[in-house]
C-alpha cells in the first residue's frame, strides 16, 4: 500500500462529495458519442458511394492510364491458285536479335553464335559493333527452320529470338507482280494483296490488360478480350503450273533476244479467267525492298503500247462481219509494195504481194490491203468496232492499276487514223485488252470480262452468272477468222509458232515504239509480239507474248522473237490441261479443206 495515496484519499474524503449522477452522465454522453460516430460512419459510406458511382473526371482519366490496349492481329488469309496451291500465306517466324549492351565480348559472342547456328561471324560482329548502344539489333529477320532447330536449347546472354507473324510467298518470284505484297503493318500495298485486302485482312481483335505501377502487364479482365476474326482465303484463277510455264518461256525468250522486258498472258477464252500473267523481269515479294519499284508493276495491265500487226485481226474481222468485204474478194495490194491513198497518204508493205484475196491480206499481214478495205468504213464505224472489242476502256478485271488504253477520240479521226489503226498504229492498248479481244475470236464472238479470281464453284459453267457477255462477232466470222489465223501460223509470218501437237492460230506483230520526246518512232526499238490460241476448232487457251526492245542485231520480228515462246507455252499448257494433241497430218488436211 502506498502511504501517499492513502493521504490523498483522506484529503479527498474531506473535499469530495459523492456524485450519484456520474455513471448516468457517462452513459448519456456515451449515447451521444455513439450516435455521432454512427452518423460519421454512415456519412463516410455515402462518400464512398459517391466516389464509386460518380467519380471525379480526373480520377476516371487515371483509371484508363492503368490499362493498355493491344491489337490482336487477325491471321491474313491465304492467296491460292485455282487448284488451291499456296501463293501467299501467313505464318509465325522467328526473329533472332541481340542486345549489344549486355554482350561482354562481341568477338567470342559472334563466333559462338555463328558456329552453333551457322552464320557468318564477321557480319554478326559488325552488326553488334555498329550499334553498341542499342538494346535491340536484329541479326536474322527470318530464322530458317534448320537454324531454328539449332537454336533450340542454345542459350547465350544477349541473344534471344522472338516469334512474329510474317507473310510468306512460298513460290518465290512466281506471279510476283500479280500477287503483290503487304506492308510491315499488314496492309496490302501492291497487286492482289492490295485489291483483296478487305477479304484477306480479317478483323483484328483487341485485348485490354491491366498494368501495375511498373507498367508491367498484370492480367486481362473478363470481357476485355475481343477475338480477332481471321481473313478469308482467296483463290485466284491463276494456275501455278501454267504460270511457271509462262514465266520460264518468257524469261528464256527475253534472255535469248536480250530484251528489256516482256509479258505473257494466258487466258481461258470462254470464261476470261487469267491462267497466267507473267512479267519479266521478276521480283520476289518475300524481299520486295531489294528490287526496283518499277519491277513491282504488273505491266500486263499498267502499260500501254502500240500493238502493230497483232491488231489487224480485229479490224479484219470487224470489216468482214460488217459485210464490207468478202473473204475471197481480190484486193490489189500493188506490185511495188507502195500504195497511195485517195487523200495522198503513202503506205508500204515489207514485200509486194500483188493481187491477193482478203484472207491472204491477213495471212501476209499486208498494210496496204488492210488500208484499202478500212477506207470503206466510216470513222464512227471503226471507232465503234474498236470499242466493241473493248479497246479504249479498262477491262473491268480485279487486277489493280489497269490502264484504259488510248483511242483517238472520234471527233479527231481523220484519214490518217482510219488507215493507221488497221495496222495497229495510232492506238495504244494493254496486253490484257489485246488478249481479251482475241478471246472473242477464239470463243465464237463474244467479249469476256477478264478476271483473276477463281471460278465460283456454284456456277456450273464457271462463268460469272451476273455478267451478260456482249457479242461482237457472229460465230461464223469468228470461226473463219480463226481459220485464216491458222494459216498465218502454217503459211505466213507466224510459222515459227507452228506446233506439231496442237493447231495454233495467231498473229505476229512487230511494232515500232513511239518516241515520247520527239514524236515519230524510235530507231531499232520494237515490241515483238505474238498472240495466238489453240486448238483451233475448240480453243482452250489464248496466249499473248510481248517482248519489249529485243536486241535487233539478234532478231526483232514478232514471229521469231515471241512465236516460239507462245508455241512452247501452248504445247506445255495444253498437255498439262489434258488436251489431246492432234497429229500434223490431220492438221494439214484440215487447213486444205478450209482453203
Amino acid at each position: 500500500m502506498n502511504s501517499i495515496d492513502r493521504a490523498g484519499d483522506r484529503r479527498a474524503r474531506t473535499h469530495w462529495a459523492p456524485c450519484p449522477d456520474a455513471s448516468r452522465r457517462a452513459l448519456r454522453a456515451g449515447r451521444v458519442f455513439t450516435i455521432v460516430i454512427t452518423l460519421a460512419l454512415l456519412g463516410l459510406a455515402g462518400r464512398v458511394a459517391q466516389l464509386q458511382i460518380d467519380p471525379p473526371k480526373r480520377i476516371v482519366d487515371r483509371i484508363d492510364s492503368q490499362r493498355s490496349r493491344t491489337i490482336v492481329q487477325a491471321r491474313r488469309g491465304n492467296l491460292l491458285d485455282r487448284r488451291g496451291r499456296i501463293l501467299a500465306t501467313t505464318r509465325v517466324a522467328q526473329r533472332l536479335f541481340v542486345d549489344p549492351k549486355i554482350i561482354e565480348d562481341p568477338n567470342t559472342f559472334s563466333e559462338r553464335v555463328a558456329y552453333t547456328v551457322g552464320y557468318d561471324p564477321a557480319s554478326i560482329e559488325r552488326k553488334i559493333s555498329q550499334s553498341k548502344n542499342k538494346r535491340y539489333v536484329v541479326i536474322d529477320r527470318r530464322v530458317s527452320d534448320d537454324r531454328a532447330a539449332k537454336l533450340d536449347g542454345f542459350a547465350l546472354r544477349g541473344l534471344a529470338k522472338e516469334p512474329y507473324v510474317v507473310r510468306d510467298y512460298p513460290q518465290g518470284t512466281l506471279a510476283g507482280q500479280v500477287i503483290g505484297f503487304i506492308s510491315v503493318d499488314g496492309q496490302g500495298l501492291e497487286g492482289m494483296e492490295r485489291v483483296l485486302n478487305p477479304h484477306l485482312a480479317g478483323q483484328p481483335g483487341a485485348v485490354r490488360y491491366l498494368r501495375d505501377a511498373k507498367r508491367q502487364p498484370v492480367w486481362i479482365d473478363r470481357a476485355d478480350y475481343k477475338a480477332p476474326s481471321d481473313g478469308q482465303a482467296v483463290r485466284l484463277s491463276l494456275d501455278a503450273t501454267i504460270q511457271t510455264i509462262a514465266e520460264t518461256q518468257l524469261a528464256a525468250a527475253c534472255r535469248q533476244f536480250a530484251a528489256q522486258s516482256g509479258q505473257v498472258i494466258v487466258m481461258d477464252p470462254v470464261t476470261g479467267q487469267v491462267l497466267a500473267m507473267a512479267n519479266y523481269p521478276t521480283f520476289d515479294p518475300n524481299d520486295f525492298s531489294r528490287s526496283h519499284p518499277d519491277d513491282w508493276r504488273n505491266r500486263c495491265v499498267t502499260d500501254v503500247f502500240e500493238p502493230g500487226s497483232t491488231f489487224k485481226p480485229f479490224v479484219w474481222a470487224a470489216a468482214t462481219h460488217a459485210g464490207l468485204v468478202q473473204p475471197d474478194e481480190i484486193i490489189d495490194t500493188t506490185t511495188s509494195g507502195v500504195y497511195r491513198t485517195d487523200k495522198g497518204r503513202r503506205l508500204h508493205d515489207v514485200h509486194a504481194h500483188g493481187r491477193i484475196t482478203w484472207d491472204d491480206v491477213l495471212v501476209k499481214s499486208s498494210n496496204i490491203g488492210m488500208a484499202i478495205v478500212a477506207q470503206r468504213m466510216t470513222p464512227s464505224q471503226m471507232h465503234a468496232a474498236l470499242r466493241a472489242f473493248g479497246f479504249g476502256a479498262v477491262t473491268g478485271s480485279e487486277i489493280p492499276g489497269e490502264a484504259g488504253g488510248i483511242i483517238t477520240p472520234l471527233k479527231k479521226w481523220n484519214h490518217y487514223t482510219l488507215t493507221s489503226v488497221p495496222m495497229g498504229q495510232e492506238i495504244a492498248v494493254t496486253a490484257l485488252q489485246l488478249v481479251r479481244a482475241f478471246c472473242a475470236l477464239a470463243n465464237g464472238g463474244y467479249l469476256v470480262r477478264p478476271t483473276i479470281l477463281a471460278p465460283d464453284p456454284s456456277s456450273p459453267d464457271h462463268r460469272d452468272a451476273a455478267l451478260i457477255y456482249e457479242r461482237v462477232l457472229n460465230s461464223a466470222t469468228a470461226a473463219h477468222t480463226r481459220r485464216v489465223l491458222r494459216r498465218v501460223v502454217t503459211q505466213g509470218t507466224g510459222i515459227r509458232a507452228n506446233s506439231k501437237m496442237y493447231a495454233i492460230f495467231g498473229k505476229t506483230g512487230t511494232a515500232q515504239i513511239a518516241d515520247p520526246v520527239n514524236g515519230g518512232y524510235l530507231e531499232d526499238a520494237y515490241v515483238s509480239s505474238f498472240i495466238g490460241g489453240a486448238p483451233e476448232d475448240a480453243p482452250r487457251i489464248v496466249v499473248a507474248c510481248m517482248i519489249h526492245r529485243p536486241d535487233v542485231s539478234i532478231a526483232h520480228h514478232g514471229g521469231t522473237v515471241a512465236g516460239p515462246a507462245v508455241r512452247n507455252i501452248v504445247e506445255q499448257s495444253l498437255m498439262y490441261l489434258g488436251v489431246t494433241p492432234t497429229s500434223t497430218t490431220q492438221d494439214r488436211s484440215y487447213v486444205q479443206v478450209s482453203h
Binding site: 474524503r13 459523492p18 450519484p20 457517462a26 458519442f33 460512419l41 454512415l42 463516410l44 458511382i53 476516371v60
Partner: protein
C-alpha cells in the same frame, strides 16, 4: 441466449477474419501463386489474427474492475501508464526505434531476425483510456473542480499526447480526442475543457509547421492535383481505388491498385482495397461491423452500473469508432493523410492484439455483470462504497 459480450467477441473474430483475407489480398504480388489457403495459413498475419483472438479471449476472462482498480503498489494502471510512456520515449532515442516511412514509431523486440516490432503509441492509446476511466471514476465527485479533479488528469493526457505527437501526430490527436470525450462523460465542465483547446491547437499547429511532410500532406489534401505524382499521389490513388471498384467491386483478389499504385495498401489504406475489390458490399460489411461493435459496447456500458466500467467501455468504443472514422475519412480524402490505422483491419500485430484485448476486456465486463451492481461498486473506495451503491 447470445449475450452482448459474445456478440462483441464474434464481431471481432469476423473482423479479424475479414482483415486476414483483405490483408492477404492487398499484399498479393504478381509472383505469389494466388490466394491459396495454404499460403494464408503460413503467413504472419494469420498468426497475428490468432494471437489477437487469443488475447481477446484471455482479456475477456479478466475481472477488469478488480484488476485495474486494485491499489497494490499504487495500482496497475499507474504502472501501465508509466511503462507505456517510457516505451514511447524510448522510440525517440536514436538507435532504439525502427523507422518506417520516416517516422520512428516502432520498437524492436527480441533478436533482429525475428523482426518483431512493436508500436508503443498503440499501448498508450489503451492505457490512457484505463487511466482516465480510473481517474474519473475515483474522483467522480470532484471532476467539476479543475484543481484536484480535471487538472491532474489533463496533465497526464497532455504529457501522453505530447510524447506521442513527436512521432505520430494522428495517434496523438486521436488519444487527445478520446480523452476529452471521456472527461466530458466523466463529469468535467465544458468550459474547463474548452480552455485546453487553444494550447492543444497550438501544439498541433507547431507539430505541423515543424515537419515538412505534415505540411505537404495538408496541402495535398487541399488540392491533390497540384502535384499528382508527389504529395497528391496518395489521396489520388486512394480515390482511384474506390472509383476502380465501382459499386460492385472488382472481385476479391482482383484489385489493381495494390500492384504498386496505392502505397500502404495492407495497412492504413486497406479500406481503399476493400472498396476496390468488394465494392459497396465490402463497405457495408466494414461499416456494419463497426456499428455492431460500438452499439454492442454501448449496450454493455448501459448494463454496467459502475462509473469506471461505463467510462472504460466508452473509452474503448470511442477509440475504435473514432479511429475508424478518421481512417475512412483519410481514405476517402475527407481529411489529410495521417498515420492512423483502421482498427482490426489494417495489418499490424500490435494494433490487432491490443485492440482485440481491449474489446475482450469490454466483453468481460458484460460477463461479470451478473455479480450485480453492489459488488460492481464494491471496489470503490471503501468509505464511499455505501453511498454509491445507494444510488
Amino acid at each position: 441466449m447470445l449475450r452482448a459480450g459474445h456478440v462483441l467477441q464474434l464481431t471481432v473474430v469476423a473482423m479479424l477474419g475479414l482483415a486476414t483475407i483483405a490483408v492477404h489480398s492487398a499484399g498479393m504480388t504478381i509472383d505469389s501463386s494466388g490466394l491459396g489457403l495454404g499460403s494464408m495459413l503460413h503467413s504472419r498475419h494469420t498468426v497475428y489474427a490468432v494471437l489477437a483472438i487469443g488475447s481477446m479471449w484471455v482479456a475477456s476472462r479478466v475481472d477488469t474492475r478488480k484488476v485495474f482498480r486494485s491499489r497494490v503498489l499504487g495500482g496497475p494502471v499507474l504502472w501501465l501508464v508509466c511503462v507505456s510512456l517510457i516505451l514511447v520515449a524510448m522510440t525517440l532515442i536514436p538507435g532504439m526505434g525502427r523507422s518506417v516511412n520516416g517516422a520512428s514509431r516502432w520498437l524492436r523486440l527480441g533478436p533482429g531476425l525475428w523482426g518483431l516490432s512493436f508500436q508503443p503509441s498503440e499501448l498508450v492509446k489503451w492505457t490512457l483510456v484505463l487511466a482516465v476511466a480510473n481517474w474519473c471514476a475515483k474522483r467522480s465527485g470532484v471532476m467539476k473542480h479543475f484543481g484536484n479533479g480535471l487538472g491532474p488528469c489533463l496533465v497526464l493526457v497532455a504529457v501522453s499526447c505530447g510524447l506521442v505527437m513527436i512521432e505520430d501526430l494522428g495517434t496523438a490527436v486521436l488519444i487527445g480526442l478520446v480523452a476529452v470525450c471521456m472527461l466530458i462523460a466523466g463529469g468535467a465542465r465544458w468550459w474547463h475543457l474548452a480552455l485546453t483547446i487553444p494550447p492543444a491547437a497550438g501544439a498541433v499547429a507547431i507539430a505541423i509547421a515543424q515537419s515538412p511532410f505534415r505540411l505537404a500532406r495538408l496541402t495535398a489534401f487541399l488540392d491533390p492535383w497540384a502535384d499528382p505524382m508527389g504529395t497528391g499521389y496518395h489521396p489520388i490513388q486512394s480515390m482511384l481505388a474506390i472509383a476502380q471498384g465501382g459499386v460492385l467491386g472488382r472481385g476479391l483478389g482482383n484489385g489493381i491498385q495494390k500492384f504498386g499504385y496505392l502505397p500502404e495498401d495492407t495497412t492504413d489504406f486497406i479500406f481503399a482495397i476493400i472498396c476496390e475489390e468488394l465494392g459497396m458490399a465490402g463497405v457495408g460489411l466494414v461499416v456494419g461491423l463497426y456499428l455492431i461493435i460500438v452499439w454492442t459496447a454501448l449496450g454493455i456500458a448501459r448494463d454496467c452500473r459502475d462509473t469506471f466500467s461505463r467510462l472504460f467501455v466508452l473509452g474503448v468504443l470511442l477509440t475504435v469508432g473514432m479511429q475508424a472514422v478518421i481512417n475512412i475519412a483519410v481514405v476517402t480524402v475527407m481529411m489529410p493523410t495521417k498515420g492512423i490505422a483502421l482498427p482490426l483491419l489494417s495489418a499490424g500485430g500490435t494494433g490487432w492484439i491490443l485492440t482485440a484485448a481491449a474489446l475482450g476486456l469490454v466483453a468481460g465486463l458484460d460477463d461479470t455483470d451478473h455479480v450485480g451492481v453492489a459488488s460492481g461498486e464494491s471496489d470503490m473506495p471503501r468509505d464511499m462504497g455505501s453511498v454509491t451503491s445507494a444510488t
